[in-house]
Every structure is written in structure tokens, then in C-alpha cells.
Symmetry: C2
Subunit: 326 residues, 2 copies
């Protein structure tokens, strides 16, 4: 049974009385007003051997644990302010490891203006497991959910797509079928420590109809917006932004395209907006330290269609992942 | 290195800018006003093989996971309203297990008026790991911390002490040195599913100076209040409330006393209050479904002293646990 189905069948009913939980279909829960904004909360868990490699530098790992949570808040235009941290430490974890991990937390507390608010540390016979519950504030009560895309919306993505997925394949400890050579250091860095797009706060809170962060692959996550919004989309693959390194891989190995478009760990933001805001979004995006790119449009129906230079691609080549985030 | 020292050395500094986190020395963090009260949050993790037995009934386990968190909020007089849940599921977890677990959640959502607000489900190669972040509201801004006991305060405990610790020893899967026979079913039930003392909300918010729930043993947790409040205490062991089953064990095996007074899993509440409130507390406690018992007083100095029928006991017989909760 898939995680998505387990959540829909057993856990969504438990959130029925909580309006802000949105039936667990979205990344964040939104509670009432806390001071100057609406309280937004997200909880994500990383497990060694599943979400990171046991050999990963603990300082950078701590940053990743915070950043994947920050990314969820950022995708809704919420500004994080604090977090709770639960660590299940293996018996062989030593003090130097914990010290390096805490150092990573302190670096990103400064980078993102966060405080540690509480948590728990426990021992486990299993792998190192990190759970973060992050709190942020939303200035706008109209929250861009997965379910709120509108017919005709432009579809935007931040940054470049596929660096995280390729970084996983290039990771020295990756033991899959298609591992890349380890020369793709930019990709590996992106996999180890993504850059949450907190700078998008203004654009998202002002212009986005639907929005989410891309953690399970661009196409799968877009499909998630389509399912929840009961709409379709046309996406121009030739407009999807890739890094130079990714382009050079694609020049030699075009069959990497599905892995790039459906692989996880981008932590870019995918949002939709009314075309009437296109000029304003363009103007605002000039101040960003990364690109915002229009890659397609929301359409009638329920299908995701891909085009390359105007020619339709065969969707059977792209196995969409189904997000199990809630 | 002990957990307590790791937290003090590496994690407390990360909470420095968050007033409501109380330097991670308390069970809960208190944030600003959310609707009708102050937002109070606690996060606790349970790991199979550490905090529960893999054979434990998943329905009751789900209730325990919620209740140990509810207990933390209740000890401060906060009323829980919702929670986030992260489950790291072993690869062999089947749907029936998840269904039974979700059923336990639904039972206690009704019992305690809670909603599931969000969370995460992930796969792990290790043991089943459950993290709950629980949210509640405090009506009173004067929070009974571990650090706020006052000289001369009466010391109270709810319910009876030692049932959880003896329940662990009597658990059919317990493989320690001093396991009891499995006939102590009341103890085992208490270990498997404690009864958080939410009924104490009024008394605690009106009268308690310091308060915490007893999760790591009565004497260790009381010592924690003493360390943080920089005070001492005299406790009369002959006044500590025991269940009939515990009394019968003590009649035969007086050497079980240290295990009973320092073992974990009571989830009773330990609080201190000015003696001038004794009559009011007594009056209010008549409506409770459990006993409130005065077991001693807060004293000058920093020592915890135990007496039995007026005679001092040798503290060397009691190895105090040190709470690592934060």
C-alpha cells in the first residue's frame, strides 16, 4: 500500500475537525493569528539511509534538515521563526558528531533568523532520525494551496530543475544503477544542502494562486497540484530551466531527462499565477538571486501534457512520483 | 556523555533568543497569544525497543504516544487542541498495524478533544519511531516552570507513584534482572497507557508555583525542580501514595522502593504550591477522579531529604535519574 493511500485512508479522517490542516493534502497547517501573522506549521522527518547518507557531513545535514522544512513554509509565503527538533541518535553517535550537527543548526539559525524552541533527544537501535517541526508566520490569509490553481494560470519554477536528483546519482555513496561520476560537485552540493527560496515571500504572497515546493520531482509535484485543483497543464520542456552542468549531461545523455524531471530534492518552488500579474512578477523577480521561469500554463481537463519545441512528448516515458507529504 | 549535558552544552545556546523556550530547561515552550490563550508546545519521541515493546498493541501505543505529550502540557495547566505526527515505519509494517494505530489516535482524539494537524510518514530500516508535536493553550501567563518553586511550598503528587515503573518490570517482554510476575495487570496497563491528568488544569493554573509531569521517576524529577529552583526538599516517604498492588509488593520486597521512587513512566503530576492555598486545593481536589497527596515541603539549601515515619533515609540507596527532557 502506498504512503499516499495510507494517509488518505487512515490519517486524513483524523484531521476532519481542523480547518487549517486542509485534510492533510497540503504541506503546511495554518492555525490562527499569532502576533503579526497567521501561524503556519510544517513537520518533516529525515532518516539515514532513506533521506541522506550516514556518511554525510553532520554540519551540512543539520542545515538540510532545517532547509527542507523552511522550503515548505517558503512555498506558501510564510516566514519561519522557530523550530522544534527531535533527534533519535544511534548508540554509536559520539559527541563530536552532535557538536558538528549543532554547529550546522547555529549557522542556519543565523542565515534564516530562527530559534530552537524545544524538542527531544532519544536513543535508537536504528539509523539516525531527525524530525523538525517548524513554525512560521503568514502575512496573507489567502494561502496558495495545492488545490487553488486557476484555469489559464501561468506556471512558474524558481532556480533550476534536476540538480538535487543528479546530485543523488553523483553522490560517492550512491549505489544505484545509473550513478554519475562524482565530478558533478554542484549537483552534489545541491543534494546535500538545498537553498530554500525564502526570497520569494513577497511574490508568492501577492501573486501565487497555487504553490508548493518541489521535493518529489517537478512533474510529480505539478501533477499533485493538478489533481488537487482538478485541472490540467501544458508544460514546455524546452522552457524548463537547467543548470549548465545539467545541460551538459543532457547533451550527452538525453535519456536522463525523465530522472531530472521526476527526481526529488529540488526544493525549488512551483507556483501558478494569473497571467495579468506576469509583468509585476517579472519586475519583482529582478531583485532575486535566482531565476524565475515560466514553463507552461494551467489548462482545462486533468491531463499533464509535455511539449518540446511545440511537439508533444510521450508521457509514458515519465513515471510521475506521487507526493506523500502532508 | 549524558543526554542532559549534551543538551546543556550544544542545544540550549541555540534557544538563547527565544524567551518562551526557557533555555530548553522545561517541558514546554510558550509562544505568544493564539486566540484565547498562550500557545504552548511540546515534542516527544517514542522509539520501539527504547520506550515501548515492538509487541505492544498499536492501538494502545498510539494512545500512549499522544498521552505522554498531553501529560507535559497538562503539567503546566495547558489544554491541548491539536498535534503533528511523524511516523518512521519499518519496512515490514503492514496496513493492519497502521489501521490499528490510527484507530488508537481516533479514540484519544475524542477523549482529549484533539485534531491531527499534519505530519510526515517515512520508511526506516530501524525500529518504529513516533514523534508527536502537541499544541495547547494556556489561560495563565504565569507558567509553573521547573525553576519556579518557592521556599516553604507544599509538594503535591497526583494519583499513585510507581505503577509505570512496576508495569515495565512486569511486562511479558521485559528481560531485565528484576522482572516481576505478569500478574500485576494494573501496573502493566499503566505502563502501556498512562492517564494524563488534564483534570488538574484549574488547580495548576490557579495555585501551582512549580510543576512538571513525572516521566523519569518521582525523585529524579523532583530533584530537577530543586536544581532549577535552587532549593531543597523534605519528602515523607510514608506519605507517598501507592496503589494497593504496589503496597502488596512493598510488603514482601521493601528493596523495590528505590525502583518505585526513581523509575519512569508515572505520568503523574508533581507540583508545588504555597501552603496558604492548601484548603482551596483540598476543596478543588474533591472533584477529581484521582487523589492529590501532599508528600513534603520545599526547603532552603539544595538537598533532597527523605524521611520514613520521621526517620531520615540514606539517600545513597536512591540513584536519582536526571531528566533529559526539553
Amino acid at each position: 500500500m502506498r504512503e499516499k493511500d495510507i494517509i488518505a485512508k487512515y490519517f486524513s479522517p483524523l484531521s476532519r475537525n481542523a480547518k487549517g490542516a486542509d485534510e492533510l493534502k497540503d504541506d503546511i497547517a495554518v492555525l490562527g493569528n499569532l502576533g503579526s501573522g497567521l501561524l503556519a506549521i510544517n513537520m518533516d522527518t529525515l532518516v539515514a539511509g532513506t533521506h541522506f547518507f550516514p556518511s554525510d557531513d553532520p554540519t551540512i545535514l543539520a542545515q538540510k534538515a532545517l532547509r527542507v522544512n523552511i522550503s515548505d513554509l517558503a512555498s506558501k509565503g510564510a516566514v519561519p521563526f522557530g523550530y522544534f527538533l527531535s533527534l533519535a541518535l544511534p548508540k554509536d553517535a559520539n559527541e563530536a558528531y552532535v557538536e558538528a550537527f549543532a554547529h550546522g543548526l547555529s549557522i542556519d539559525q543565523r542565515n534564516f533568523n530562527l530559534s530552537l524552541l524545544g524538542g527531544d533527544t532519544v536513543k535508537t537501535k536504528g539509523p539516525f532520525t531527525i524530525t523538525v517541526t517548524i513554525l512560521g508566520l503568514l502575512s496573507n490569509s489567502e494561502i496558495p494551496r495545492r488545490s487553488t490553481a486557476k484555469l489559464g494560470d501561468d506556471i512558474y519554477v524558481s532556480g533550476t530543475i534536476g540538480d538535487g536528483a543528479l546530485g543523488l546519482l553523483a553522490h560517492p555513496d550512491y549505489r544505484g544503477e545509473t550513478n554519475l561520476t562524482a565530478k558533478y560537485s554542484r549537483h552534489i552540493s545541491h543534494y546535500l544542502c538545498p537553498e530554500p527560496r525564502v526570497e520569494l515571500q513577497t511574490i508568492i504572497s501577492q501573486y501565487a494562486n497555487a504553490s508548493m515546493d518541489i521535493s518529489d520531482g517537478l512533474l510529480g509535484d505539478l501533477n499533485n497540484i493538478l489533481i488537487n485543483s482538478k485541472l490540467g497543464a501544458k508544460v514546455n520542456v524546452d522552457q524548463i530551466p537547467f543548470s549548465e552542468e545539467t545541460k551538459s549531461i543532457l547533451q550527452n545523455e538525453m535519456d536522463m531527462l525523465p530522472a531530472i524531471l521526476t527526481g526529488g530534492d529540488d526544493y525549488e518552488i512551483l507556483f501558478t499565477a494569473d497571467p495579468k500579474h506576469a509583468d509585476d512578477i517579472k519586475k519583482h523577480s529582478k531583485n532575486l538571486h535566482f531565476n524565475l521561469t515560466k514553463i507552461g500554463n494551467i489548462t482545462d481537463g486533468s491531463k499533464l501534457e509535455l511539449f518540446d519545441s511545440g511537439q508533444p512528448l510521450n508521457m509514458a516515458d515519465f513515471e510521475l512520483s506521487h507526493s506523500h507529504k502532508w
